[in-house]
Structure formats: structure tokens, C-alpha cells
């Protein structure tokens, strides 16, 4: 079955109906409205080093992602892909180096929550959804809104928000499982639900860790369509092993090896690179 193209309107960001009253505990300092992308780069990683008990996971990593770009990251196991995502989302602090979201937000100084609120969304390698909640409730929680304690105590879904969730449900083809408990979904469905949760979160930058693992071919194809359509409005960074999938979506590919960038360029360029061939096939 071919994927239906996604209507433009669905991907339009919906503005926070409650305004940007982010005064709750640990709320973000800045909303994405003010994100400064003057130079066209949304993410800047420079000279990042991370080591775990002597093991160097990242060494002098430099990476730039442009606004609206769809970047694929490939690399053998242990190349540092997930660690890099951990650094961007604030889960791991680099030993040194700088990480900027836009021109002004220093990711190394922000907490995970602040980073998430400032507009970076992440999908985990293993699909993680809230298993005890229904599909709808999963999306409701993820939806961009005021996420402070007090707000959630009083929160009521507006019609607009409900519509938005319904739209996304349709996009990820889970409209039939709306009230189903997320824990009961299949692996692929969970993957989609998690992507859907990213969509309602409406981030500027999406980090996706192996999004098509465990999907059927048709689902993979559909996902590729989805990502490509997202790319214009959002920046995406996709870590993937499936070269077919990478080839179908990426205009730009980065190869990581032993914690730093080995090669960068179009998929064809990269695949022709001697060093990359050696890394993948050599040993």
C-alpha cells in the first residue's frame, strides 16, 4: 500500500493556546519563538569530548545541522551515535566542547527538560511510550502546552487541541486504536505512536534513533514519506542502519566512527569514500 502524502496543513505548527506561561518548576528559559537561527544552523556541536571511565565515546566531534535539513547519521556500533544524542538532549554532559541550539542556547548548561521545552524532540532506540495510558492520552501528554504542575492540575483539552491530536492519530494511522492501551500495541505501532508524540510536541529539531527498526517495508516507506514532508518545516537528525531507508530520505549523510566524524556528504559520496568502506567492510 502506498503511503498517502501528508497534507501540508497537518504539519503546520500549532501555537500554544495558553501562551508561553512557562513559569513552572524547571520551565524553559526560552520558547522556540525566540530561537535565533541567523546563520542558518540550528545545531552546532564543536570539539565535543565524552569519556566513560577512560573509554572515549566521543572525541573532538564537530557537527552542524542546518535549519530544515534532514540529516542521517550512520556508523558502526560503538561509533558514538547514541552518546551524541545524549549530549544534545542533556542526558550526558560533555567533558568539554560546546553544543548550541540555534545561536544562543547553550545545551551544555541546560537541563533535559529545558532542552525538550526549547524545541528538541527525541525518539528512543527502543520505542518508549506510556504503556498504562491510552494512545490518545499518550499524545495528549506529549502535546505542546504548558507543562507545569499547576497547569496539569487544571488542564482541560480545548477543541483545537483535540482536533490536532485527532489529526496526528490519522497521520500515524492509529485512529482505530485511539482508546487502546499503548502497552498493547505492536512494536511497529509503538514506533509510530512515539513519532506521533514527537509530532504533537512540535519541536524545531527532531532526533530519531533508529525509527524504522521493526517496521514492515510498507511502514518504512510511509515513514520515509513522513520524514521528507517534515523536513521543510523542521530539522531532523536520523540515526539509522537501514541504508535503503537512508538512501530514500537523506540529502546529507554523516558517518561517525570512534567518536568523531569520518565523512560527510551525499550518500553516494560517502559510500564511495575509501575510509568509510574500510570501516564498514575492512575489518
Amino acid at each position: 500500500m502506498r503511503a498517502t502524502p501528508i497534507p501540508e496543513a497537518m504539519l503546520e505548527p500549532i501555537h500554544d493556546p495558553l501562551g508561553s506561561a512557562r513559569d513552572a518548576i524547571g520551565a524553559g528559559r526560552l520558547a522556540e519563538k525566540g530561537l535565533n537561527v541567523r546563520h542558518g544552523t540550528i545545531l552546532t556541536l564543536e570539539d565535543i569530548n565524552v569519556s566513560f571511565d577512560g573509554f572515549k565515546a566521543l572525541t573532538n566531534l564537530n557537527l552542524y545541522i542546518g535549519v530544515g535539513e534532514l540529516r542521517c547519521i550512520i556508523g558502526p556500533n560503538g561509533a558514538g551515535k547514541t552518546t551524541m544524542m545524549d549530549v544534545i538532549t542533556g542526558k550526558t554532559r560533555p567533558d568539554n566542547g560546546s553544543a548550541y541550539f540555534g545561536e544562543t542556547l547553550d545545551l551544555t548548561r541546560m537541563s533535559e527538560v529545558e532542552i525538550a521545552q526549547s524545541g528538541i524532540g527525541r525518539k528512543f532506540q527502543k520505542p518508549t511510550v506510556f504503556e498504562a495510558l491510552s494512545v490518545f492520552e499518550n499524545l495528549e501528554l506529549a502535546q505542546k502546552t504548558n507543562k507545569s504542575v499547576w497547569a496539569s492540575l487544571r488542564a482541560k483539552l480545548s477543541g483545537e487541541q483535540r482536533e490536532r491530536i485527532d489529526e496526528v492519530l490519522e497521520t500515524i494511522r492509529l485512529e482505530g486504536s485511539r482508546e487502546r492501551q499503548a502497552g498493547l500495541l505492536s512494536h511497529g505501532q509503538k514506533q509510530f505512536l512515539e513519532i506521533g508524540m514527537l509530532l504533537v510536541q512540535d519541536p524545531q529539531l527532531l532526533l530519531l534513533d533508529e525509527p524504522v527498526a521493526g517496521m514492515t517495508d510498507a511502514e518504512t516507506e510511509f515513514t520515509a514519506e513522513l520524514f521528507k514532508s517534515l523536513a521543510r518545516k523542521h530539522s531532523l537528525m536520523v540515526v539509522e542502519h537501514d541504508m535503503g531507508f537512508v538512501g530514500s530520505i537523506a540529502d546529507h549523510v554523516t558517518v561517525l566512527h570512534q567518536g568523531s566524524v569520518l565523512a560527510e556528504g551525499s550518500l553516494n559520496d560517502v559510500q564511495a569514500d575509501e575510509r568509510v568502506i574500510e570501516v564498514y567492510l575492512g575489518r
Binding site: 527538560v113 525538550a116 498504562a132 501528554l141 496539569s152
Partner: protein, 363 residues
């Protein structure tokens, strides 16, 4: 790591089933609980008379039920197993006890201080002769302690078993502190021999009835509050927090605030339960803080069914009922029964009695 609790919340269940029946049954229980203290006021030789023994026993169990509910809010919903709720319960009890001691002592010092030759009240006793301030303390003492402990614990992401062990150590430390005579709370003897509350004789039937009613009101209020919370988005965030905290953080929620809120709320509920418990049973002493008591409360919740609102109440009732019976019938075997209960619930009844009833329903 996480065990999905496929338990549908009572809130949701009752929303779906025709609410009339559940309201009817609830009303019957409530009516019984309200009738009980009124029957206590009948003359002693009346056929319907309910004696003070029964009233205080049921009152005590109701207080425990509130504790179970409070524990369930943090454990069943937010996934934080506290083994230190006895501390909050006791703190509330002590705050109320301070007021009761002052009432008994009149203008002088409470008895335990005067025979240890203390000349004046320690600073933290200031104002405890006013009921209003005592009430504030009932809320503030457990609340502030929970706030401070929770702030540090949640900030450094202590969770799961570590959290349980830390809370256990906390209540243990509290117990040691209150056992000291120099701490100024009567040491091992704690507070006893209360005479009056708000000027009323504490042993008068009307006072007992009023205290009992207050407990019923607090229980109903806690249930309503729990129900409201479970239905709100807040409740869903807590459930999400329990199952996948990292996911929640990457959705932009700060778990600390949520945990702190429910943790403090739960502590305050415990404190209030403690405050009602003390005048009814007539004594508060540090053994209420012993880790064993707190862990027993966890069994009430586990037995009844965590993540539900009625479950903990059932659990508290069943375990305490069993305890009353066992300690009379076979005092030696009570610990065997309690121990076996712990093991069997965890092995075979992960959803407690409520889960059992549900399963029976499905088949």
C-alpha cells in the same frame, strides 16, 4: 524495569459503569460510618449501642486507611515506594499530641517535662496551646520534611529501590531522634493521658463521635481528592512518570515538580490521619516511626491493589482485621501469616484483591 499496571483506575471504571449502583453502595457504607458514632451516643443499655471499644477500633482502622490511600498516591500512581510514611503519620500525631498535652497540663509544663526537671518549654513548643497553630503544625511538620527530603531526593534522581531505602533510613533516623528524651517529645513514653480537646472531655461519647466523624470526613475528602487527581491530566502525567520517566522528560515535563507535589500531598494526608489517630487511641510514641510499621502499610496497599483508590482501603481493613483476629486466636502465628501474605501477594496477586475480583469477573 517497570511493570505495566494494566489496572484501570477506579475513576475510569466508575465513570463508565452506570454510576447509580456504585453511588448506592458507597452511600450505604458512608451511612454506616456516619451511623456508628451516632449509635455510640445512645444509652449504654440500648440494643443499638455501639461501645467505645468498637468505635475507637474502627476509627483507628479508618486512620490507617487514609495512610494507605496516601501511600497509594505515591506508590500506585507515581511509582515511588515509600517505606517511611510512618514518619509523616507520627509527625502529624505528635503535632496534635503537643496540643493535647498542653491542654492537659494547663498553665504548667507537660508531666514528662516537669519530672525531668525542665524549667521551660523548648522553642518548638511555642504556640502549641492554640489549636489552630497545632493544626498548622499537623500540616507543616510532615509537609516541610517531605518537601526538603523530596527536593533533595528528586533532584538527584533517587528512585526505585534507592528511594525506598532512603525513606526507610529517614524514618529510622526519626525514630532514633524521638526516642531521645532530650529531643523534648517524651522519649519512649511519648504522649499519653490526654484529658481535653478544645475544652471538651476527650473520653466523652460526644467527643469520640465527633472525632470519628472527622475521620470519616477526612477519608471521604481524601478519596474525592484522589479521584479528582487520578482523573486530571496531572494523574496521567504521574502514571506516565511511573512507567517511562525519561520519555516524559523528553516530552518537556519536569518530573521533579510532579513528584514533589504528590509526595508532599501524600505526607500531609498522612499527617492529618496521624492527628486524628492520636486523640482516638490516646497515645503517640516513637514506635509509630519504626520501619516495620511503614512497610506494613505498603502491604495494605499491595494487598488491596495499588493504582486504585478503593484497593488500599480494602487492604488496610483486611490486614488490620486479620491482625485483630490472629493476635487473639493464634498470637504465635501472626507473623507467619503476615509474612506469607507478603510473599503470596507479590508472587500471585500483583494487582491485589481488586485485581483478583476483576479477574474473577472476566472468566
Amino acid at each position: 524495569m517497570t511493570m505495566p499496571l494494566n489496572q484501570t483506575l477506579l475513576a475510569r471504571t466508575s465513570a463508565k459503569l452506570g454510576p447509580r449502583l456504585s453511588i448506592a453502595v458507597g452511600a450505604v457504607v458512608l451511612a454506616l460510618l456516619i451511623a456508628l458514632p451516632l449509635l455510640h451516643l445512645t444509652p449504654a443499655d440500648s440494643a443499638f449501642h455501639v461501645n467505645a471499644y468498637t468505635l475507637t477500633l474502627v476509627g483507628k482502622i479508618l486512620c490507617y486507611a487514609i495512610v494507605a490511600l496516601a501511600l497509594d498516591l505515591v506508590w500506585g500512581y507515581a511509582g515511588l515506594l515509600s517505606l517511611g510514611h510512618g514518619l509523616f503519620f507520627a509527625l502529624g500525631g505528635y503535632a496534635m499530641g503537643m496540643y493535647l498535652m498542653r491542654q492537659s497540663a494547663g498553665d504548667g509544663l507537660p508531666a514528662f517535662m516537669s519530672f525531668l526537671a525542665w524549667k521551660e518549654l523548648p522553642w518548638y513548643w511555642v504556640g502549641t496551646d492554640h489549636f489552630i497553630w497545632a493544626l498548622c503544625l499537623v500540616v507543616l511538620a510532615p509537609g516541610l520534611l517531605a518537601l526538603v527530603f523530596g527536593f533533595f531526593a528528586f533532584r538527584s534522581r533517587i528512585k526505585g529501590v534507592y528511594f525506598s531505602i532512603m525513606t526507610q533510613a529517614l524514618t529510622f533516623a526519626g525514630m532514633l531522634l524521638f526516642f531521645r528524651n532530650e529531643t523534648g517529645f517524651g522519649g519512649n513514653n511519648g504522649f499519653t493521658d490526654f484529658k481535653r480537646i478544645l475544652g471538651f472531655d476527650i473520653t466523652a461519647p460526644a467527643t469520640r463521635a465527633a472525632l470519628f466523624l472527622a475521620t470519616v470526613i477526612l477519608l471521604v475528602a481524601s478519596l474525592l481528592l484522589g479521584w479528582k487527581l487520578a482523573r486530571s491530566k496531572f494523574g496521567r502525567v504521574l502514571t506516565a512518570l511511573r512507567d517511562a520517566e525519561n520519555r516524559l522528560m523528553f516530552c518537556g515535563y519536569d518530573p521533579r515538580g510532579y513528584k514533589l507535589f504528590i509526595w508532599v500531598l501524600s505526607a500531609v494526608l498522612c499527617g492529618l490521619a496521624g492527628a486524628l489517630y492520636v486523640p482516638q487511641v490516646g497515645i503517640i510514641n516513637p514506635s509509630e516511626m519504626s520501619p516495620t510499621n511503614s512497610i506494613e502499610a505498603a502491604v495494605w496497599v499491595a494487598l488491596g491493589g495499588r493504582g486504585t483508590l478503593i484497593g488500599p482501603l480494602l487492604g488496610a481493613g483486611v490486614v488490620n482485621g486479620m491482625k485483630s483476629w490472629f493476635t487473639v486466636a493464634f498470637p504465635e502465628y501472626w507473623l507467619f501469616a503476615l509474612g506469607a501474605l507478603f510473599i503470596l501477594i507479590t508472587l500471585y496477586l500483583p494487582h491485589g484483591i481488586i485485581g483478583l475480583l476483576k479477574r474473577g469477573e472476566k472468566q
